[in-house]
């Protein structure tokens, strides 16, 4: 009985090793960040949006820089609470190449409310207007705020749904991204 059990167990372990060898990913079936999707480990879906003054900004043009994409709305309480942290972090890291794209979900907001919000907080970074909800759909927006930390290679390193984000979380993520080498 005991020896039969041992043979079974040894057989299972050998089969496990064979399976590990057979199922090794030699063809690059893991994503490796090549597919665009709003998820950690995937290429950040590309978009082009306008600022309040009509200037166009394209995400893929920022390749090589650390980018934080924050989706927000002026009526959203947690967005309001976390905005000072974004402002502080931007002031602290802008000279090291940090880009913050604050994408306003304008399809569920109004340009006048956005203007008042930006003036109230004196936001120093780029505010983009998602008039028709393109970015909300691309990034499968399910809650406001939602923040994506994008590495220099354009791959999402972390997605945080909800807020408010703590300043220390922002700082820790950005320090780690800035420390990565340029691809």
């Amino acid at each position: 009985m005991q020896s039969t059990r041992r043979i079974w167990f040894a057989g299972i372990l050998v089969l496990g090793l064979v399976w590990i060898g057979l199922s090794a990913d030699r063809l690059g079936e893991s994503t490796n960040g090549l597919t665009p999707a709003p998820q950690k480990g995937f290429l950040a879906p590309d978009f082009t949006l306008e600022t309040m003054s009509g200037q166009k900004v394209t995400l893929s043009d920022l390749r090589g820089q650390v980018v934080v994409v924050n989706l927000w709305a002026s009526w959203c309480g947690p967005c309001r609470l976390e905005m000072p942290a974004f402002k502080n972090i931007y002031e602290e890291y802008k000279d090291r190449g940090l880009v913050i794209l604050a994408v306003n979900s304008t399809s569920q907001d109004t340009p006048s409310a956005v203007e008042a919000f930006v003036a109230e907080f004196q936001l120093p970074f780029t505010v983009l207007m998602d008039y028709d909800g393109t970015v909300a759909r691309l990034y499968k927006l399910s809650a406001l705020p939602t923040t994506f930390f994008v590495g220099r290679d354009g791959v999402i390193r972390r997605a945080v749904i909800g807020g408010p984000l703590a300043e220390s979380t922002l700082r820790a993520e950005i320090e780690s991204l800035l420390a990565e080498e340029t691809p």
Partner: protein, 246 residues
């Protein structure tokens, strides 16, 4: 993926709700089956709750220790409700230590306690699979099979569904059965089945960490856990290990 429920400043993610539900169901099952192990359900409940508290507090403290420089500028963030300030490894270690200390103080025998907690662990594995399904984590690799699901711009293996199905199977097979004759075998059998399932299913995932030219790290880890569990079962069944008595 499932939506996020926004309650004031709190964004409650459905993934978290699945985990909470599995904790509740797991505790209920453990309570109901405590009689089989001869342990008091109150002690098991306290053990689980204190360990969970240890996990949460330890995870936050470990995060603070690992990101000390980031927190120094805004130290009050350590009390933030945001769950992103959490280190899972540190949390698990803290939860484990709390469980050990509580178990020793209450005189809970090691293997019978683990056996009694097996329904809880098995239910948590179902909850973990459901939380992966809700969040999109642990997603599958691309496939042309007819049951593939559209996810992140490709048709993929429904790896989270595989995960839930195998966890339910293991819950029914091991988690809900009466304890084996040797103490500890039920828990180790659960561990072996779970590791074996993970070893098999990792092959269908599209987010594996790869080492040595394509080997999946998760499979190697699962194989080590499987081997340890099988050796443990063998030793317990052979009567080579004396049950620890408190």
């Amino acid at each position: 993926m499932f939506p996020v429920i926004q309650l004031g400043p709190l964004a409650i993610q459905s993934a978290g709700l699945f985990l909470l539900a599995s904790i509740w169901i797991g505790m209920t099952l453990t309570e109901k089956r405590a009689a089989h192990s001869g342990l008091k359900s109150d002690s098991l409940d306290s053990l689980i709750l204190l360990s969970l508290f240890g996990l949460l507090a330890g995870g936050r403290l470990a995060y603070a220790a690992l990101h000390f420089d980031s927190l120094r500028a805004s130290p009050l963030d350590i009390f933030s409700l945001n769950t992103s300030l959490f280190d899972l490894t540190g949390g698990l270690a803290a939860g484990f230590i709390v469980a050990l200390v509580y178990g020793q103080r209450k005189g809970l025998a090691f293997w019978p306690t683990l056996d009694a907690l097996t329904p809880f662990f098995a239910t948590m594995m179902v909850g973990l699979g459901a939380s992966h399904l809700a969040s999109g984590d642990a997603f599958g690799k691309e496939t042309s099979l007819p049951w593939g699901i559209e996810l992140f711009g490709a048709v993929r293996h429904p790896s989270q569904v595989y995960e839930i199905a195998t966890a339910l199977f293991i819950l029914n097979l091991i988690g809900l059965r009466k304890p084996f004759s040797a103490a500890g075998v039920q828990f180790l059998a659960f561990l072996a089945w779970t590791a074996g399932a993970s070893l098999f299913l990792e092959a269908f995932r599209g987010d594996s960490t790869l080492i040595f030219g394509g080997l999946r790290l998760g499979q190697i880890f699962a194989w080590i856990v499987l081997a340890a569990a099988l050796v443990g079962v063998e030793r317990l069944q052979s009567g080579m290990v004396v049950n620890e008595q408190a």
